[in-house]
Amino acid sequence: MREPVQVIINGEARDVPPATTVADVVRSLTSAANGVAVAVNDQVVPRTGWADTAIGPDDRVDVLTAVQGG
């Protein structure tokens, strides 16, 4: 069995199974279908690429949404 992968999701260290994708991470955080964007290591991953983008060791994944402000 392959080892879990250590990543940072929204600033918190997490272990995820190998071959976890951006789409998996988003689903684990929110059920919102709209208004969400993802950056991996500060690079935006377009929604169309979420299912095909696997996250690797030490990747920083940020999942953002619109909140009250400004």
Binding site: N34, T65, A66, Q68, G69
Partner: protein
């Protein structure tokens, strides 16, 4: 034969709605742009947004909170209000670019309210980072609306790099200090070829009206409404103040005189 009434019904005269705000080729029927920060709940926020009549409203971008209930995006969407994402919380051009790109992806809009502030205490714009970020975002195809100091030179530079509007502050964010330097706001308005939106500092309705009387094209405010005792009521006050100030500006105010000028015709002097 009965004569038709010739007097117009109250409220049927010329209105600000016949005078749309145009930013980057898009028309808005109201000149009040709202923010969403500071409201005690999404329900209170929604009531205030509806009362304000706004058609464009800012939101911030933050990490998803799995425990959050409801979303500001849903509130805007169901009321047909366009979201204007901001880069609040950014201190460098690099931060602001990253946030703007994420906002574009999340909300499907090229429009960005650009905020690059210098420090937490004043939240005043950092002009060097702001101009740098504005230029780079324009190059990437964003419609950039920068929150800026009340500095006519910086406002001109922001316009020159291609910003779609300039948004000078009246006073620091959330301060309610009103418009501290109306002269500078007038100078910015005089030279601007893009809309000038008074952003930040408004505390009450008369200050929103003053911004419009000074020649601003629109007012952006949040705290004055969201932290008022009755947010929806203040939102309605702001809506009317912005409309009134705009109409007064268009109507052209009378010159200020040092002494009285009788407004009644000279009476025949009665015999003593």
């Amino acid at each position: 034969m009965t004569a038709e009434p010739t007097t117009a019904a109250p409220g049927s005269g010329p209105r600000a709605t016949a005078d749309p705000l145009v930013i980057a080729g898009r028309e808005f029927g109201t000149r009040l742009i709202m923010g969403t920060g500071g409201a005690p709940s999404l329900r209170v926020l929604e009531e205030a947004l509806i009362a304000s009549g706004t058609e464009l409203t800012t939101v911030a971008m933050r990490r998803v909170d799995p425990a959050a209930r409801g979303s500001v995006w849903d509130v805007l969407h169901r009321n047909g209000i366009r979201p204007l994402p901001n880069t609040a919380g950014c201190f460098t051009a690099t931060d602001a670019l990253r946030t703007a790109r994420l906002a574009r992806e999340a909300l499907g809009t090229e429009w960005i309210k650009l905020e690059v502030v210098a420090d937490e205490r004043t939240l005043l714009p950092d002009p060097v980072e702001l101009l740098d970020a504005a230029e780079r975002l324009v190059d990437e195809g964003f419609v950039v609306l920068p929150y800026t100091n009340d500095d006519p030179v910086l406002a001109r530079r922001l316009e020159q790099v291609g910003c779609a509007a300039v948004m000078p502050l009246g006073a620091p964010i959330g301060s309610g200090l009103g418009i501290r330097n109306p002269h500078n706001i007038e100078l910015i308005v005089e030279q601007a070829g893009v809309p000038v939106i008074l952003d930040a500092g408004i505390g009450t309705a008369s200050e929103a009206a003053l911004a419009m009387e000074l020649g601003c094209d629109a007012v952006l405010l949040a705290t004055a409404v969201t932290r008022a005792r009755e947010p929806a009521l203040m939102a309605a006050a702001m809506r009317d103040a912005v409309a009134a100030g705009r109409m007064a500006r268009r109507a052209g105010r009378i010159p200020v005189r040092r002494y009285a000028q009788a407004s009644s015709p000279d009476p025949d002097r009665p015999p003593c």
